[in-house]
């Protein structure tokens, strides 16, 4: 999924990657010139440091130690979210608990369970140029996570552009979701059968 998501990125883009599988997308960008934003105040995020080179003043939004690059620029949190809210970041790739056919996204809280907070997710999905969700198509019971309507509290309403799952790639369009492609070894019938959302 991470490799497939990396194909979405275009040369020259400034991109924000969420925590989890989206972070792995950085390993698959190949020769494309992609600048990664870390919303705690950095453009040009480099890889993890070598052991012994960790700097407590240099972390990413997941609070992991990282490194800087030749192109790196630092700024404060208000400026960081100014560029997010202002539409300067071309794309965000992030995970989800649920997505629905209107592009609503839920990925920050499950009522009755421990709530940790939305962090920067609401700002990102409301502000960046393109929101790409990377997620498992179904939950552990085999139920679709691509729904007619999200049941969990939303992170953003009508914000998702494209969904990449283990079964395929779908776009949010007028009237529902449109199949872009099926994953290797998955038929369109199987993809439809695993999807609760309307497919147009």
């Amino acid at each position: 999924m991470a490799a497939r998501a990396a194909e979405e990125l275009e040369d020259g883009w400034y991109v924000n990657l969420g925590i989890g599988i989206p972070t792995l997308v950085a390993n698959y960008v190949g020769d494309k010139d992609i600048t990664l934003q870390s919303e705690n105040g950095m453009l040009g995020m480099g890889p993890f440091p070598f052991e012994g080179d960790e700097d407590p003043d240099l972390i990413n939004a997941g609070k992991q130690t990282i490194t800087e690059m030749d192109r790196t620029a630092y700024f404060d949190s208000a400026t960081s979210f100014g560029m997010i809210r202002g539409g300067k970041i071309a794309a965000a790739i992030l995970g989800a608990m649920e997505v629905d056919e209107k592009g609503d996204l839920a990925n920050w809280m499950i009522p009755g369970k421990l709530v940790k907070g939305m962090g920067g997710a609401m700002d990102l999905v409301a502000g960046v140029g393109r929101v790409i969700v990377v997620m498992d198509h179904t939950n552990k019971h085999g139920d679709s996570k691509l729904l007619k309507k999200c049941t969990l509290p939303l992170t953003g309403k009508g914000v998702v552009d494209r969904i990449i799952t283990n079964l395929g790639v779908l776009d949010v369009v007028e009237g529902g979701l449109k199949i872009v492609e099926c994953a290797d070894g998955v038929t369109e019938d199987e993809l439809r059968a695993a999807t609760e959302a309307t497919i147009v």
Binding site: N40, M42, F50, D53, P56, G117
Partner: protein
């Protein structure tokens, strides 16, 4: 104009009172005003409201003030790393107001700029928008209306901030991602106390390289910082 104080306790003297509203810089445990938080713990000031992106961990950062029950309310975007926080929150001892991270940063920045409210798309259609003013602006394609919500600027009684270097007039430089919420937090305080790793003579910082001008800074202390790392991630030497 003497801004340099010998200790964190001296720098906070006269600025603390029960029930006050404090804006604190830092992201996770990076760039947090650890010396000033420790001095507030020692001062025993109670019923505090904190605007701070995170709540520290159990034994570091704002977490140390949770242990002593000095915090009444947190305004934060993410509080996941703190067991004592969760215990107090779930038992109703602690109030919590979640703000999206960028909304929190902008609330601080705008409060400091004398802007009591602003409109943002962040959170429209979510629980964050409940009870807030909605307004359409023609910002969509071809002037199509888009819906925004109003968020209020933060005006804190006190800002506590960590910087890398200060000159004697309070001009500040931060280091790498430890800048984070520190400048907007500094701006939104009626008064601002800063802790730094090094105080340098006036004239030794390049005026073009100052991240936050001293007009925002009322008192400064210099001290040793633990600078704890929350998630130590590395790669092996020789690997790409």
């Amino acid at each position: 104009m003497q801004k340099i104080y010998p200790t964190a306790a001296a720098a906070l003297d006269g600025f603390l009172h029960d029930g006050m509203f404090i804006a604190a810089g830092g992201f996770g445990l990076c760039g947090i005003p650890e010396l000033l938080l420790s001095a507030i713990k020692d001062a025993g000031t109670k019923d505090l409201t904190f605007a701070s992106n995170n709540a520290g961990v159990d034994d570091f950062g704002i977490g140390i003030l949770l242990q002593t029950r000095q915090v009444k309310k947190m305004i934060s975007s993410y509080v996941g790393e703190n067991a004592e926080f969760m215990r107090q929150y779930l038992s109703g001892e602690l109030e919590l107001e979640f703000n999206p991270q960028g909304t929190l940063a902008e609330r601080m920045r705008s409060g400091g700029c004398g802007i009591p409210g602003f409109y943002t798309k962040t959170g429209v259609g979510t629980v964050i928008a409940d009870g807030k003013e909605h307004k359409d602006f023609p910002t969509g394609p071809n002037g199509a209306p888009e819906t925004y919500i109003m968020e209020e600027g933060i005006f804190a009684d006190l800002a506590i901030v960590k910087a890398w270097k200060a000159d004697e007039t309070g001009n500040l430089m931060f280091r790498k991602t430890a800048r984070n919420f520190n400048p907007p937090a500094a701006m939104c305080g009626k008064v601002c106390v800063v802790e730094v790793e090094e105080i340098v003579p006036v004239g030794s910082l390049d005026p073009d390289a100052i991240h936050l001008p001293g007009i925002y800074v009322h008192r400064i202390i210099q001290g040793d910082h633990e600078k704890r790392i929350e998630q130590r991630t590395t790669r092996t030497r020789g690997a790409s």
